[in-house]
């Protein structure tokens, strides 16, 4: 019995596709394994060791984790980082949403869109240093202005109460345009017909926002939140160049503490344990965010 020729060809073609697909996937897979999975596994392994970079790593079991749970600086870093994330993300999301909606409803000028994105083109370090000077207690124009209008000078980067809020707001300024653009892209996906229908029904602008824009934007907003929260948890450079964790420990965020432990004290084992803790926090936060915002589903059907 001779088999028909068509299926045989199909089989051959499928086999060809697999090879081609593997060839395409290979570079990315190598990159993922070499630059993500291997460092991740090695980092987790190092968190069970005592390693100072210069002598061989020694296995110490859970010692680093035991020390971490009892380390007040670690818990302070968790608290400070959370405070930063809440201020930063809370403010940034609201501001970016407002900008995006204004861009969609009022003006679609490309020039305006570019201008909104401008702060994002400035590097984190430069933005932080510029604000460090603007808000300097003695010389900064920010404090001069406060004095002119009859207020007290504020140690924006040099007082414990202000350090984190100041850095959070500086980063809102830098990131809001980018976030607004992401949200704006989500707004474009909402069919104009729904707005027309709302207008026909006589819904006000505010009612439209809460009744149409916000619910239909949810998946995009969810993804934007997940990305920006992860980024926010990893704040480092703007803290390092302005307060370096101070005053005292007021702005010693997790990443800075990890960096201090690793590169200033060469305690790579403990720093790895801190990194694993941060990874766990991010996994949990991201999981809940994903579930709460149902970012994987859309209501547009």
């Amino acid at each position: 019995m001779s088999a028909p020729s068509v299926p045989r060809e199909r089989v051959r073609r499928r086999r060809d596709d697999t090879r081609l697909a593997l060839a395409f996937i290979l570079p990315a897979t190598i990159g993922l394994v070499v630059f993500y999975f291997w460092p991740l596994l090695r980092g987790i392994w190092l968190s069970f060791t005592s390693w100072d970079l210069l002598s061989p790593a020694q296995f110490v079991g859970l010692e680093n984790y035991r020390a971490m749970v009892a380390d007040p600086v670690f818990w302070n870093a968790v608290r400070v980082t959370l405070l930063y994330v809440v201020i930063n993300i809370g403010l940034q999301t609201v501001v970016a949403l407002v900008i995006a909606v204004l861009m969609q409803r009022l003006s679609r000028s490309t020039l305006l869109r570019s201008l909104v994105l401008a702060p994002y083109l400035v590097s984190n370090v430069v933005a932080a240093l510029v604000f460090l000077w603007i808000l300097d207690f003695q010389l900064g124009i920010g404090n001069q202005v406060l004095e002119w209008i009859g207020l007290e000078r504020i140690g924006f980067f040099t007082s414990e109460a202000w350090a984190i809020p100041t850095i959070a707001v500086v980063n809102v300024w830098r990131h809001m345009g980018y976030t607004a653009l992401l949200i704006f892209a989500g707004l474009q996906a909402i069919p104009p017909t729904t707005y027309e229908a709302a207008r026909v029904d006589g819904a006000s602008e505010v009612r439209t926002f809460f009744g149409i824009t916000l619910p239909l934007l949810r998946p995009i907003l969810g993804l934007v939140l997940i990305i920006s929260v992860i980024g926010s948890f990893q704040v480092f450079d703007s803290v390092a160049v302005t307060t370096n964790g101070g005053p005292v420990d007021a702005s010693r965020v997790l990443q800075l503490y990890i960096y201090d432990k690793a590169f200033a004290q060469f305690d790579f084992g403990y720093a790895s344990a801190l990194s694993v803790a941060m990874l766990l926090i991010l996994v949990v936060v991201t999981f809940f965010q994903y579930r709460v915002t149902r970012a994987g589903q859309t209501d547009l059907n």
Binding site: D52, L54, F137, Q138, T158, V241, P247, V248, A264, F266
Partner: protein, 451 residues
Amino acid sequence: MHHARRTTASLAAAVAAGTLAVAGCAGPGTAAADDSVVLDYWLWDANQLPAYQRCADEFERQNPDLQVRISQYGWGDYWRKLTAGFVAGAGPDVFTDHLTQYPGFAERGLLLDLNTLEATADTDYAEFQEGLSDLWVGQDGAQYGMPKDFDTVALFYDTNVIAEAGLSPEDLEGLDWNPEDGGSFEELIAHLTVDENGVRGDEEGFDPDNVAVYGLASNGSGGTAGQTTWSWLAGATGWKFTDADVWGTEYQFDDPRVQDSLAWLFGLVEKGYMAPYEEVGTEPNPQQALGSGRAAISANGSWMLGTYANLEGVDLGIASLPSGPVGHPVSMYNGLADSISAQSPDPEEAARWVEFLGSDDCQRLVGEAGVVLPARPAGTEAAIEAFGERGLDVSVFTDMVEKQQTMFHPVTEEYGAIDAVMTPIMDEIYIGDRDVSTLTEVNEQINGLLE
């Protein structure tokens, strides 16, 4: 000394610390085409680079078979780059070393004992300024560094500001201080402090909340060593950092003498005689405060001489630190040295370069540049002369050493970890959120790190 300052550039490079190892791939001691050995030498102070380049030129002239390649990296990058270099086996052959760093390197077997190398084995360390070489003797008795320079602390001021206050430079001599009422030193600081209304700190109606000129410039909280901030106060009470000059095993921050000294210094903030933490932050700049007339007197180290001398519009004067309860002033006495990496493929050649760095020939060249005070008396003399030509009398700094009115920078194990604990705590004391008596518990904690 040479406080760690983070700059944008240094930080950006630091973030890339992981990749730094790659940058140094050239490797140390690579044989050049003409078979001469190339020695890599690292230092961090850009101001000293020209002087050491002259040393290297002279060394190469005397030793045609050797070449010295000098690299300079800012303080922030320096140690990370050095560590990365050690990890990758691509560090320098010889490098400028610091007291806070070398114990960690020595402990890990990364430095060579100069006594085991031919060129440096016969060095007579008594020829250096007294005591300097002791700082570089490890717990195992090995000599890990060849002294290159030293520094002490004194008071910098602007003669014009002193004159405006109706005083003369003589009034700044022979001051005394104690932690209870601050002595004549506090009286001076009070008099030099001026509020927004022009009322002086020792006059009726002085407003400590609106000060125009602070009597004493703030140099931050000083961290563990308080080199230019409080070590000279605590030292003048007879207090010592640890239970031994070097390699102490117990810190003594539980001593009321250091606690009272700190309480006095940071108590000046409330009195209005020194700027609050809020104003100076993590990057204090006392030289700028002096230059802009924001502060009248600034205690700082001899390595800052050039910077203060270059302040525009300031007629610089230098006075000795006030004497304390021990009956004389006490300055921290610290010095840098050159160390040889255990990874150097040409240790004997490296030792010849180190021997030259520690010779009168090289140290005189460094002294003539008038940047630092070299460790050999001949070099020190040359520096005194060079500074003198610029109208600066630096005898205040050298007198302290001659009269042995000094204390060493702490040299202990685990300094990095201890400093990470102490710095935020000292900041907290400066801010006013922590009582000095809590240092007793902190002392237990850091001594725990030393066990």
